[in-house]
């Protein structure tokens, strides 16, 4: 299930939804939060812009790719947009699988490709003004490395 929303999400509810099936031995979740990642600039939060329509399309496509590579049962992707404060949740990825290795790999694959493919843009609001964040080369590297380690 894909959700692109401004409202916050509740991890407990998402976990409940994922964990309802006795066929799944493994549940892996990832949550990304707004963190104080700048060098003492007094970050207040982020403004997240997205491309409505395309975002959902890309996330559905990424989920479909993950399902081709690993035996997954449930997949949840939630990404927020709008103004978020320091410490707020930005993104939730949850996957379930009979196999833990598949669950870990798929969850990491989903966030790696979300980061490099889904049309979201972060603007940081600090005490010194606001500023668009630059894409990180390391994120591209992480996505590219999957071409070598995907299961056949």
């Amino acid at each position: 299930m894909i959700f692109v929303q401004s409202e916050d999400f509740v991890v407990a509810d998402e976990y409940q939804r994922l964990a309802s099936d006795n066929q799944d031995g493994a549940i892996v979740t990832f949550v990304g939060k707004v963190r104080d990642f700048n060098e003492g600039l007094g970050i207040q939060g982020l403004s997240l812009e997205h491309y409505p329509g395309m975002t959902e399309k890309v996330l559905n496509d990424i989920e479909a790719q993950a399902r081709q590579h690993w035996p997954l049962n449930k997949v949840t992707i939630i990404h927020r947009f709008g103004d978020l404060s320091l410490g707020e949740q930005i993104v939730f990825i949850g996957v379930t699988s009979p196999h833990r290795k598949a669950a870990f790999a798929a969850c990491e694959f989903l966030i790696d490709f979300l980061k490099t493919r889904a049309p979201f843009w972060k603007k940081e609001r600090t005490n010194a003004g606001s500023k668009w964040l630059d894409a990180k080369a390391s994120d591209d590297d992480h996505a590219q490395q999957w071409s070598e380690k995907l299961p056949k």
Binding site: E49, Y51, H79, L114, K115, A118, P119, W121, W132, D134
Partner: protein, 82 residues
């Protein structure tokens, strides 16, 4: 006509989030880019950025993708979500 969208830093630099553009036969994303670059100095600069990305009908594509009337073409910088 096509609908052209701009996001994030581009939207702010161009002070434009969308516009309509007339298209002729056999146009590509590259043609659209060049046409927009002629709208002024800021447009020229933004449209020549190495990192500029383009999507046609909500799919990222390259600069040789053909563009037809009714298409939605979007320009944006590298994504930074997650």
């Amino acid at each position: 006509m096509i609908k052209v969208l701009f996001f994030a830093r581009l939207r702010e630099q161009l002070a434009t989030d969308s516009l309509q553009l007339a298209v002729t036969e056999n146009m590509t994303t590259e043609h659209i880019r060049q046409q927009l670059a002629q709208k002024g100095a800021t447009w020229a600069q933004v449209m020549s950025a190495d990192t500029l990305l383009v999507a046609v009908n909500q799919e990222i594509t390259d600069w040789s993708h053909s563009v037809n009337s009714g298409d939605e073409v979007a320009f944006f910088p590298p994504v930074t979500g997650g």
